[in-house]
C-alpha cells in the first residue's frame, strides 16, 4: 500500500477548513454565555424554553466549577462568559473573592429569595438546594441512634458507617460546616472518630453508599436527598428495592439543623451580554423553572409556593442549618486539610 501524498494533503486541508469554518460565526446580540458545573438534562430543557420565550440563544460550556473558575481567571476582562453556575456555595464564594463576579441589582432576587440563600452583597444566589441527609437500614439502626451528624462518630457505630471519598465537594462542605460551628479542634476530633467508624475505605458515589447500606456492608451513610429520590426512579428493579429497604432522616433537627448545599449562579465581572444574562438569571428563579427543577430533578426550590417533587413532599419540612453559605467556601481549604490528617481518603 502506498501513501498517497496529494490525498493526504487534501484531507488535511479539508479537515482544517472544516474546523476553521466551524469557529467563525455565531456571534449575535441575542445570546448569553453560560459556564456551568451542572449538566442535568433538565437544564437543557430550561435553556431551550428560555430561548423560545425570549429569542435569546443560550450557549453553554460545562466543566467542573474549579476548572471554570480557573478559566475565568485566565481569560480576564475578555472572557466571553456571562454567567457562572456551580453546584456548591463554596465555589461561588471563591469566584466572588477572586473578583470574578459582579453585584446583581434586581428586586426579583432580593424579594423572592430568602436571605440565607443569597450572598449578603448580592454577588450570587441559590436557585435550588438539597440536604445532606443520613440514610440508614431501619432493621439494624434505630432513628435515635443516628439523629445527628455527631452521633455518626459515636462508638456504637464502630465499623458500621460507609462513606464516599472526601475528594468530593459534598463531604468537604459538610466538614466545612462542622468546622464553622465547632472550630478546628473539635471538628478534627469528630472527623477522626467518624473515620474510625468506617466499615470499608471510601469509594464510589452517593448511590453506591446507599446500595452498600442495603447490602449490609454498612448500616448508615450520608447522602444528598435527590440521589435517594432518583434511586426510587431507577430503571433497574434491584435499585428500586434498595430505595425501599433504606430510610432517610434529616439530622440535627433539635439543634442547629441539617447541613444543606446549593446550586447557585452569579453574573461574571466582565459579562459582555449583561442584560440577557440578568434575564436568564431571573428566569431561573421564576415559579415555572423552580417547579420544573423540583418535580423533575427532586431539588428543593428557593421560592415559596411551588409544587414540589412527591418525594420531597413525603419527607416533609425540616430545619435547615442557618450557617451563611459563604462560610462553606471560607472554611473549605482547612476542612480538606483536616480530612487529610484524619485519613478520610
Amino acid at each position: 500500500m502506498r501513501i498517497n501524498i496529494p490525498l493526504f494533503a487534501g484531507l488535511l486541508t479539508l479537515a482544517t477548513g472544516m474546523l476553521i469554518s466551524s469557529c467563525v460565526g455565531g456571534s449575535s446580540n441575542k445570546q448569553v454565555n453560560v459556564y456551568s458545573h451542572r449538566h442535568y438534562p433538565v437544564d437543557q430543557e430550561i435553556f431551550k424554553n428560555f430561548t423560545e420565550k425570549t429569542g435569546i440563544q443560550v450557549n453553554v460550556v460545562s466543566a467542573s466549577a474549579d476548572e471554570l473558575i480557573t478559566k475565568l481567571e485566565l481569560e480576564g476582562s475578555r472572557s466571553p462568559a456571562d454567567i457562572l453556575i456551580t453546584v456548591d456555595a463554596g465555589r461561588l464564594e471563591k469566584a466572588k473573592s477572586s473578583g470574578l463576579l459582579q453585584e446583581l441589582n434586581g428586586d426579583i432576587f432580593s424579594e423572592n429569595i430568602a436571605p440565607n440563600f443569597r450572598d449578603p452583597d448580592n454577588y450570587w444566589f441559590a436557585f435550588t438546594y438539597r440536604a445532606r441527609a443520613i440514610a440508614y437500614a431501619p432493621d439494624r439502626v434505630s432513628t435515635d441512634e443516628v439523629s445527628t451528624y455527631e452521633q455518626l462518630a459515636a462508638p456504637h457505630l464502630k465499623n458500621r458507617v460507609v462513606m464516599r471519598s472526601s475528594e468530593h465537594t459534598y463531604n468537604q462542605s459538610l466538614m466545612a460546616s462542622i468546622l464553622a460551628h465547632f472550630g478546628p479542634q473539635k471538628s478534627a476530633d469528630w472527623c477522626k472518630r467518624l473515620t474510625d467508624n468506617f466499615s470499608r475505605s471510601p469509594r464510589g458515589n452517593d448511590r453506591d453508599q446507599l446500595k452498600a447500606v442495603a447490602a449490609g456492608l454498612g448500616d448508615v451513610t450520608i447522602c444528598n436527598t435527590y440521589y435517594v429520590a432518583k434511586l426510587a426512579e431507577s430503571p433497574i428493579e434491584a435499585e428500586r428495592e434498595v430505595f425501599n429497604s433504606i430510610r432517610i432522616i434529616f439530622p440535627n433537627q433539635k439543634d442547629r439543623g441539617t447541613h444543606i448545599n446549593i446550586s447557585g449562579a452569579g453574573l461574571t465581572q466582565y459579562a459582555p451580554n449583561k442584560e440577557n444574562a440578568v434575564r436568564l438569571l431571573e428566569y431561573l428563579v421564576s415559579p415555572e423553572v423552580q417547579q420544573k427543577l423540583s418535580v423533575e430533578n427532586h431539588e428543593y426550590p428557593v421560592i415559596d409556593g411551588v409544587e414540589m417533587s412527591p418525594f420531597l413532599q413525603e419527607w416533609g419540612d425540616f430545619k435547615i442549618d442557618e450557617l451563611p453559605l459563604g462560610e462553606l467556601g471560607k472554611h473549605n481549604e482547612q476542612a480538606v486539610r483536616i480530612l487529610d490528617q484524619c485519613g478520610w481518603r
Partner: protein, 561 residues
C-alpha cells in the same frame, strides 16, 4: 593563466560552500521548522514547569506530611502491576497470533485490539456495576439461593483497578509488539528453527530481545496512561498522584502544589524511561531486512491449539465483552433506548476532531523524528523527548498549561486588532476548535511519536547516507524511502491517536467551544451525575465508533509488504 584564476575561484567557492554547508547543517528549513514545532508543543509543558520556580507552598508541605507517601506508593504499585500484566498479555498474544496457527487466529488478529475502544473509566464503572450488590452476578447468586455476603465480590479496590487497567491497556503492547513480529525478518526466526530451537526458546532468546524497542514503546504508553488516569481511580477510591494533583488544585485551591505533584509524576516517568534506556546500554536495534517473505507459522497439536484459543479469548472477554454486555444491559433498561438525531451530531463532532488531530499529530511526530534523525543535535533530541511528556500529565493540568500561553497570544492579537484596525474580535484560539486540536496534540503526541520512532529505529541509516551521496534532498528520501518503510508505524500511530482523542475527556470539557459536545463528554456528564444507565448509550456509540479504526489498524498490521 585563465585556468589558474578559475581554479582559484573554484577553491574559494568550495571553501565558501563548505562553510555554508556547515551552517546549513544546523540552520535550515528542516531544523527551523522542527524546532518551532517542538517549541510550540513544549510551551504548555514549560509553562507548567515554570510554576516550580516559585518554590513549594504551604499546601505542599501539608500534602507531603499527610498523604504524599500513599499517593506515590499507589501510583508505583499500579505502574508496576499494570506493566507486568500488560506485558504478559500483550506480548504473549501478539507472539501467538503472529507465529502460530490456531482456531480463529484471523479473528483474534483484530479482536484483541478491541478493548482499546473502551475508555478505562467506563470499563471501571461497568465492572463496579457487574459485581455490585444490585448487579447481575450478586443478583444471580442470590437467585440461586447462595448468600455469599455483600462483600464477597469486592473488586472496588487497588487490585481491582490494576486488573481492569491491565485488560483495557494491553492492546498498546499487543499492537506494537505484533507490528514488530509481523515485520520481523523470517530469516531470524527460521534460522533459529533450523538450528533446532523450539518455539519457546526462539521466543525467549531471539524474538523477545529483538522486539524490545517495540515492547518498551508499548509499555511506555501503558505507563503514561496509568499515571494520568483519573476517572477509574477516583471511582474506585484509590488515591494516586493524579488524584493528588486534583486535590491540591481543586480542593486546596493551590495550583502551585498541583504543579509540584505534576513534577513528581514527571519524575516517575523519567525515572522509568531512563532506567530502560540505561539498561539497554549501547545495544542497537537496526535489524535490517529486505524482501522478507511471510513467516512459516508453527503448527501445534490440537490440544495446544485449543489452549491457545482460550488464552487469546480471555483478554477479549474481560477487557471488552463483559463490560460491553453490561453497558448493553444498562442501555436496555434505561428510558433512553432510542438514539435520537442529536447523536449523529455527537458522532460527527467526535469523528472530525479525532481525524483532524490524528492526521496533524502524526505529521508533526513524523516530521520531528525525521528532523532529529537528519540533524541529531542535543537540543532537538531533548525537545523531541520533552514534547511527548504531555501524555503522562492529566488533561486538566495540561489545559491550564495550554490556556496560559494561548490566552496570552489571544489578548495580544485582540489588543492589536482593536488598536490598529478597530476590529472587535473574540478570542482567536482559546475556546475554539483550533485551540482544542492543538491541546490534543500537546497531550497525545507521544501516541503517534513512539510507534513512528520505533519503526524508524528498524530502518537503516544507510538509506540516508546513500541518498545524500546521490544528491537526493531529505524530503524526497523521506517520501520515497522512509514513508513506505515505516508506514505501519505511521498508521498505527494515527489510529491509536484517533481512538485516544475519541475517548478524551478532561481537556475537551474545559477547552471546547460553547455548545460543543462529543460522545465522551456526553457519556461523562451523564455518568458523573450518577445516571449510569443513561450514560450507556453514548458510551456504546464511542465503542462502536472506535471499533472502525481498530479494525483498520489490525488489517494494516497484518498486511505484509
Amino acid at each position: 593563466m585563465r585556468l589558474e584564476v578559475n581554479k582559484k575561484n573554484e577553491n574559494i567557492s568550495s571553501i565558501k560552500r563548505g562553510l555554508y554547508w556547515r551552517l546549513f547543517r544546523v540552520v535550515n528549513p528542516w531544523t527551523i521548522f522542527a524546532f518551532l514545532c517542538a517549541i510550540l508543543i513544549a510551551t504548555p509543558l514549560i509553562t507548567i514547569l515554570y510554576y516550580l520556580v516559585e518554590g513549594p507552598s504551604d499546601t505542599w508541605h501539608h500534602l507531603a506530611e499527610t498523604v504524599l507517601g500513599e499517593y506515590i506508593f499507589n501510583s508505583i504499585f499500579l505502574v508496576i502491576g499494570v506493566s507486568f500484566f500488560t506485558f504478559i498479555i500483550g506480548v504473549s498474544t501478539a507472539w501467538l497470533v503472529s507465529t502460530s496457527s490456531f482456531y480463529g487466529r484471523k479473528f483474534f488478529e483484530w479482536a484483541l485490539i478491541l478493548p482499546l475502544a473502551v475508555p478505562t473509566y467506563i470499563v471501571a464503572i461497568a465492572y463496579a456495576g457487574i459485581f455490585d450488590y444490585t448487579g447481575p452476578i450478586q443478583q444471580f447468586t442470590q437467585w440461586l439461593g447462595f448468600n455469599l455476603g455483600a462483600g464477597f465480590f469486592e473488586i472496588v479496590n487497588i487490585q481491582g483497578v490494576m486488573v481492569i487497567m491491565s485488560f483495557v491497556l494491553y492492546p498498546y503492547v499487543f499492537v506494537l509488539a505484533r507490528a514488530w513480529f509481523v515485520n520481523q525478518s523470517s530469516t531470524l526466526l527460521e534460522t533459529g528453527r533450523m538450528l533446532g530451537s523450539n518455539p519457546t526458546r526462539t521466543f525467549f532468546t531471539l524474538a523477545l530481545p529483538v522486539a524490545r524497542p517495540a515492547i518498551v514503546a508499548g509499555l511506555s504508553l501503558v505507563i503514561m496512561e496509568v499515571l494520568n488516569d483519573y476517572g477509574a481511580v477516583k471511582y474506585f477510591g484509590v488515591n494516586t498522584l493524579t488524584t493528588g494533583i486534583f486535590r491540591s488544585w481543586f480542593s486546596l485551591g493551590d495550583i502551585a502544589a498541583a504543579i509540584y505533584m505534576c513534577a513528581v509524576l514527571m519524575a516517575v516517568v523519567f525515572l522509568i524511561l531512563g532506567l530502560e534506556k540505561w539498561q539497554r546500554g549501547k545495544a542497537r536495534y537496526d535489524e535490517n531486512r529486505s524482501g522478507s517473505k511471510p513467516l512459516q507459522r508453527y503448527n501445534p497439536s490440537r490440544g495446544k491449539k485449543v489452549l491457545i484459543t482460550l488464552w487469546c479469548s480471555l483478554p477479549i472477554i474481560v477487557g471488552f465483552l463483559l463490560p460491553v454486555l453490561q453497558l448493553i444491559n444498562w442501555w436496555w433498561v434505561s428510558d433512553t433506548r432510542i438514539v435520537d438525531p442529536s447523536f449523529a451530531r455527537l458522532v460527527s463532532n467526535s469523528f472530525l476532531l479525532a481525524a483532524t488531530t490524528s492526521i496533524l499529530g502524526v505529521s508533526v511526530a513524523l516530521f520531528l523524528i525525521y528532523s532529529i534523525k537528519l540533524y541529531p543535535f542535543w537540543l532537538m533530541r531533548i525537545l523531541g523527548k520533552f514534547s511527548t511528556l504531555g501524555y503522562s500529565i492529566p488533561g486538566a493540568v495540561i489545559a491550564v498549561g495550554i490556556m496560559i500561553p494561548l490566552l496570552y497570544f489571544d489578548h495580544w492579537i485582540t489588543n492589536y486588532l482593536e488598536n490598529y484596525w478597530e476590529m472587535g474580535l473574540g478570542f482567536v484560539l482559546s475556546g475554539t476548535l483550533m485551540g482544542l486540536v492543538f491541546a490534543y496534540i500537546v497531550r497525545f503526541l507521544a501516541v503517534a511519536y513512539y510507534p513512528v520512532e520505533a519503526s524508524f529505529r528498524k530502518t537503516s541509516d544507510y538509506f540516508l547516507g546513500a541518498s545524500r551521496v546521490l544528491g537526493v534532498p531529505p524530503a524526497k528520501t523521506l517520501r520515497k524511502i522512509y514513508i513506505p518503510l515505516i508506514k505501519t508505524g505511521i498508521l498505527s500511530g494515527a489510529l491509536l491517536l484517533f481512538v485516544d482523542v475519541l475517548k478524551e475527556l478532561p481537556l475537551t470539557l474545559i477547552m471546547r467551544p460553547f455548545n460543543f459536545n462529543t460522545l465522551a463528554t456526553r457519556a461523562f456528564e451523564l455518568a458523573s451525575d450518577e445516571m449510569v444507565t443513561e450514560a450507556a448509550a453514548p458510551a456504546l456509540v464511542i465503542i462502536l465508533t472506535g471499533i472502525v479504526p481498530i479494525i483498520l489498524l489490525s488489517k494494516l498490521v497484518s498486511r505484509k509488504n
